[in-house]
């Protein structure tokens, strides 16, 4: 084999190696983009499955529960005050109603 043919064969071999590098680079590029897409989908999906929402919901439920208890306690205080005042004014109310029932025209 002459020296020229040997060099040409070597050149063809180098070109094949180069083509292989480009093909591999294209594969790598596709993998990079695919991975980015997966990461993007996962980022968006993570919003719905974020446990923070449930935590927020629970915290608010607890707060609503506390406010309801406050309302109930305020009611008990109001009833207690009402019972006391009503008891104090019971006779006055009866006297007023008797007076109205027995007086002239209604």
């Amino acid at each position: 084999m002459s020296a020229d043919i040997k060099e040409l064969q070597e050149l063809i071999g180098r070109e094949r190696v180069s083509e292989e590098k480009v093909r591999k680079a294209k594969e790598d590029a596709q993998a990079i983009v695919k991975q980015a897409r997966e990461q993007a989908e996962s980022t968006v999906r993570a919003i719905e499955s974020d446990p923070g929402w449930e935590k927020l919901r629970r915290a608010r439920n607890d707060e609503i529960g506390r406010k309801k208890v406050e309302i109930e306690e305020q009611y008990k205080r109001n009833v207690s005050a009402l019972e006391k005042v009503a008891h104090e004014n019971y006779e006055k109310a009866i006297a007023r109603l008797i007076e109205e029932t027995l007086r002239g025209k209604l």
Partner: protein, 212 residues
């Protein structure tokens, strides 16, 4: 160009192509991730807004129901006290009527005269329960005289007995029974209770004056 130079050129171009492909892919990946992050931030914000609105609405509704509930219970307590007043008043008026006496006689007289003055005519029937019949019968002459003075004409009264059970009081009717005036104590108490319901509640809650 020598073979050697050609080899170097092929390798250089291949390296360039590889770099370009990878660089383009990296940029595309960055764009995709950046867009996703922007979209995610926007979605998160919207989700938070929707959830906040939902929770606000729920809190408002639940607390409104709770407040309405206790307000209802408070009103029931007020009603119970008012009913106690109405029942006790009825009891005491019944006792007063049962005892009779001058005060009750005066009341019966006033009730008869009020009935007569409220109606046209000069002949009336005065009805009471059996217990009060004798008392009113004894007053009939005086009452006819007083009513006659008030009306400016002679008034004739006749007695009747109510068949229904009552605490006391009278029903005065015209002779033809076309008109009648119900001054039975239960009717008066019922009218007074309706009229004074608000006042009684105010008195019981310490806000009303007895003279209202």
């Amino acid at each position: 160009m020598s073979i050697q130079a050609l080899q170097t050129e092929i390798e250089r171009k291949a390296e360039e192509e590889v770099s370009r492909i990878l660089e383009t892919a990296r940029q595309e990946a960055q764009r995709i991730v950046a867009e996703a992050n922007t979209k995610a931030a926007s979605l998160r914000e919207e989700r938070a807004r929707v959830l906040q609105r939902e929770l606000d609405a729920r809190e408002k509704a639940e607390l409104a129901v709770a407040r309405m509930d206790v307000r209802g219970k408070l009103l029931r307590v007020q009603s119970e006290w008012a009913n106690r007043v109405f029942e006790e008043t009825e009891k005491r008026i019944g006792e007063m009527a049962e005892k009779g006496g001058r005060e009750y006689q005066e009341l019966l007289s006033n009730l008869v005269l009020a009935g007569i003055s409220a109606m046209n005519g000069n002949k009336f029937i005065v009805e009471t329960n059996a217990r009060d019949k004798e008392v009113v019968s004894n007053l009939l002459g005086t009452l006819a005289e007083k009513a006659g003075k008030n009306k400016g004409e002679r008034v004739i009264l006749q007695m009747g007995t109510l068949q229904t059970r009552t605490l006391g009081g009278v029903i005065v009717s015209t002779e033809d029974r076309v008109q009648s005036f119900n001054n039975i104590l239960e009717a008066r108490l019922s009218a007074a209770s309706r009229k004074l319901e608000g006042t009684i509640r105010r008195i019981l809650s310490g806000g009303g004056k007895a003279g209202e």
